[in-house]
């Protein structure tokens, strides 16, 4: 992917930079606002919670990198480590133009909560290199990545901070990170990164991990909402790794995908789309544009308000905004991407009685399978694809059960319940460990 295009602008599957979703100047503060409410409802000790209001550590490094033409470019690298109460830090490595520290802060905090909801023994982190990878050669990107890793070496590693693949960091990039850490450590250290190629200690089930997680929570949610486990009409926004894989899985489960979209537009057919041929077309041509069939071609926005039982937005943040929230027909929304539903839209949906499974729970399959990769690397023993699936299902179901329990107990939305579960788990760990001095 590197060197071909700046995929962050084109592909729906990339988590959107948080700053798109909120208007506030300080994304970390905005992100924390909902956790503040959760802490309030839990009656949490303010002293313990105060620790969570700030990242544990922020590191900024300056990285001289030799360009192909011999010129030295000095790039900026960042890593924010939010909280280590539950275990080593874990979070994405991004290569992105305009990368900002406060955005990383928000992502790092977000990762802490997400791992806690899923009961993955990690704390949150986020980092990256500020560079538009599309404007550099692959060799230049490699040198930048290796220099970045070397600069952070004393703060990362399998028990300190684990990098996961993210915006513009494909498995090739993760392999360089693994190699650099290993060369310095003087032994193979593949547990230092996740999202590696299978040949270098990657895990089965990585590609469709988020989709499998979404499928697992959908099953649980259908039960609660009172919809059947087959034949439900579903609209999916996004047709890449997340949306596309999910659409295929749900068709296998006997559901009807009535709407599917990518960045160029949406397809709708209330009798159900032929997902297999559409994804085949997309794999061949790079987009859904030009695909033939008996469906209607509409805009993304229009698709969101067309009749359906379940809506699963897997695209950029904020696609379900206020106007759409008022008009949409779904009884259940699974947030398939981070921040799909704007906060004002979320309130409208709550008032309208539309069930929303929040991103922090719904998209957790990715974090869980990354964690599985780390476990397999540490054990030096790779699991079969079936084992990965079985255990992923267990993690998703357990998280759902805990969140749902809190929802009933406190009579709150699933979103608030998920936030409360996260805050409860992280502060419990911090409380037990105490303040080191």
């Amino acid at each position: 992917m590197i060197g071909t295009s700046d995929i962050s602008a084109l592909d729906y599957d990339d988590p959107a930079p948080i700053s798109h979703a909120v208007e506030d100047e300080n994304p970390f503060g905005t992100m924390m606002a909902s956790f503040d409410e959760a802490a309030d409802r839990l009656g949490l000790d303010p002293d313990i919670y105060a620790i969570l209001r700030k990242p544990d550590r922020e590191i900024q490094v300056s990285m001289p990198v030799q360009m192909d033409d011999g010129v030295m470019a000095v790039l900026d690298g960042f890593r924010v480590q939010h909280n280590a109460g539950l275990g080593p830090y874990f979070g994405p490595l991004r290569i992105q133009a305009g990368l900002r520290m406060d955005e990383l802060r928000a992502v790092a905090g977000w990762m802490t909560w997400k791992c806690a909801v899923l009961d993955v023994p990690f704390g949150g982190a986020a980092g990256g290199i500020r560079m538009a990878s599309s404007r550099y050669s692959r060799g230049e990107v490699e040198r930048a990545v290796r220099r970045y890793v070397a600069a952070l070496l004393s703060d990362i590693g399998p028990e300190r901070d684990i990098f996961s693949s993210d915006v513009a960091t494909d498995e090739g990039v993760m392999a360089w990170v693994m190699d650099t850490v290993s060369m310095h450590a003087r032994h193979t250290e593949n547990a230092a990164v996740t999202g590696k190629p299978l040949a270098l200690g990657g895990t089965h089930g990585h590609a469709d991990s988020v989709a499998q997680g979404l499928r697992a929570v959908l099953r649980e949610a259908l039960e609660v909402v009172g919809l059947p486990q087959r034949g439900v009409r579903i609209v999916i926004q996004g047709a890449g790794m997340r949306g596309g894989n999910l659409a295929s899985l749900l068709v296998l489960d006997g559901h009807k995908i009535v709407g599917l979209s990518d960045v160029h537009g949406a397809l709708y057919d209330e009798r159900g789309l032929d997902i297999r041929s559409l994804l085949g077309w997309r794999a061949e041509h790079g987009s859904l544009r030009g695909a033939v069939g008996s469906f209607e071609r509409i805009t993304n926005e229009e698709m969101l308000v067309r009749p359906c039982d379940v809506l699963i937005p897997c695209a950029v943040a904020g696609t379900v905004h206020l106007r759409i929230a008022r008009a949409l027909h779904a009884k259940l929304i699974i947030e398939g991407a981070h921040g799909s539903i704007s906060s004002r839209a979320d309130r409208v949906l709550f008032d309208r009685g539309v069930h929303v499974v929040p991103d922090i729970l719904a998209t957790g399959g990715g974090a869980v399978v990354n964690y599985f990769e780390w476990v397999q690397n540490r054990a030096g023993y790779a699991w079969t694809p079936e084992t990965v699936q079985k255990r992923l299902l267990r993690f998703m179901t357990n998280a759902w059960v805990e969140v749902h329990k809190l929802r009933l107990e406190h009579k709150v939305s699933l979103r608030m319940a998920a936030h409360m579960l996260a805050v409860q788990r992280v502060s419990q760990a911090d409380g037990l460990r105490g303040i080191y001095a």
């Binding site: 280590a84 539950l86 275990g87 080593p88 023994p121 004393s154 590693g157 028990e159 300190r160 964690y371 599985f372 780390w374 476990v375 540490r378 054990a379 788990r425 419990q428 760990a429 037990l432 460990r433 105490g434 080191y436």
Partner: protein, 429 residues
């Protein structure tokens, strides 16, 4: 072991009530059976390493007080040392040494890859605030840090230490080594890398060994009346699990007294009563009877002393009316008392086998922490069952081969395991 003089005469009359002397005697008997040479006996008698540290603490009132802490690593040929840390005013190096050796034998009997260790701090926890206890724990951890670690020495809770103490040790160690290291201690809260099923582990181990022993003796669960001394994590949970498997619990005791019902106690209800009132006394479904040693004389098939040491001695061994004794506590039968039971044909499942469920699940916790993946409770219980059943069979086989009691067989087995590894590794120089 190390409490015994190097040339201890095993026939010399020992103090019957010193459990460590009993253990030293057993060591000698087992070593004789194995024909262990003098050099190896010397090696196994002495701890590999002992550390004494001063622990200066700023008390809550601003004074500095200096406490003394110990960590003894008895033998690390089979793997990192494993053993509890206790806080008590009467902690002393001799006791810590003996307990460390005891852990070596216990780990070897159940074949977990650990050597024995033990530690302690001389202090009176009742007179310390939580903050002072935290500072003592952290300073003690920092002081012994160089000999601690998942691959060196892995402490666990013991007298007056608990999950919270273990969380502080884990945090202090992790901060010093600059990485999360949950596997440095076991007995942690589940939120920080603890294992499911640990609280019930020792009681569950008692269940498995009782079941295997009953099979050997041809006692069916439905025909087995069980008397349990102690109603805590070992006795109480053990009794509940035994009842669930069809055994009839006719009596159970606590420090205040005992209760009895010939038809069988309803253990979940009994434990709920204990939880609510703090004692057995007043439980409506049973008659209150005299506790203490008197309870042990009740006619039954299985007797489980799961309270404290020196309960069955030369004084009362002749009056014990059971076919099987399963030692849930450490050292409930004195060596001499145990000999009388042997002569009467009463089978005794010795402490280092019967109550090893706890250290086994501690081992599972360490395994889970090392891989960073946590087992379901069913998985923990199944693995525990495998270990306990296998260990029971191993000890039985040795007992038959050497024609000795289960107790001596357990020592023969464990000493042989440690000695074998020691010979294979050789003396490093």
């Amino acid at each position: 072991m190390s409490t015994a003089p190097a040339a201890a005469d095993k026939k010399a009359p020992a103090n019957e009530f010193n459990p460590f002397e009993s253990m030293a005697q057993l060591f000698n008997t087992a070593a004789d059976h194995l024909g262990l040479d003098h050099g190896l006996r010397e090696v196994l008698r002495r701890p590999d390493r002992e550390m004494t540290v001063a622990i200066p603490i700023v008390m809550d009132d601003g004074r500095i007080e200096v406490f003394t802490g110990y960590r003894v690593q008895h033998n690390f040929s089979r793997g990192p040392c494993k053993g509890g840390i206790r806080y008590a005013p009467d902690v002393n190096l001799d006791e810590v040494r003996a307990l460390a050796a005891w852990m070596t034998w216990k780990c070897a009997v159940v074949d977990v890859p650990f050597g024995g260790g033990k530690g302690g701090v001389i202090c009176d926890p009742r007179k310390l605030s939580k903050n002072e206890l935290e500072r003592i724990t952290r300073r003690y951890t920092a002081a012994i840090l160089d000999i601690l670690g998942p691959d060196r020495d892995v402490p666990a809770p013991d007298m007056n230490t608990n999950e919270q103490t273990m969380a502080w040790i884990m945090d202090t160690y992790s901060m010093h080594v600059r990485k999360t290291t949950t596997a440095v201690v076991t007995g942690k809260p589940i939120a920080l890398g603890g294992s499911r099923g640990r609280t019930e582990a020792t009681g569950r181990g008692v269940l498995f060994t009782t079941r295997e022993a009953c099979k050997n003796l041809g006692i069916a669960p439905k025909d087995a009346r069980v008397v349990v001394q102690g109603s805590g994590n070992v006795g109480g949970i053990g009794a509940m699990l035994l009842q669930r498997e069809g055994y009839t619990i006719i009596s159970i005791s606590d420090q205040y007294g005992a209760i009895m019902n010939e038809k069988g106690l309803d253990m979940p209800a009994v434990l709920a009563h204990v939880k609510a009132t703090g004692k057995l006394q007043g439980y409506p479904g049973a008659e209150a009877i005299e506790g203490g040693k008197k309870q042990l004389e009740i006619p039954c098939e299985v007797l489980v002393p799961a309270a404290t040491e020196n309960q069955i001695t030369t004084e009362n061994a002749a009056r014990i009316n059971a076919k099987l004794i399963v030692e849930g506590a450490n050292g409930p039968c004195t060596a001499a008392g145990s000999k009388m039971l042997d002569d009467r044909g009463i089978m005794v499942v010795p402490d280092i086998l019967a109550n090893a469920g706890g250290v086994t699940v501690s081992y599972f916790e360490w395994v889970q922490d090392r891989m960073g993946y946590f087992w379901t409770e069913e998985r923990v219980n199944t693995s525990l069952e495998q270990v306990m059943v296998k260990s029971f069979e191993d000890v039985s086989a040795v007992a038959q081969k050497y024609k000795v009691s289960m107790r001596i067989a357990a020592y023969i087995l464990s000493i042989d395991r440690v000695a074998t590894v020691y010979r294979m590794r050789g003396v490093f120089a």
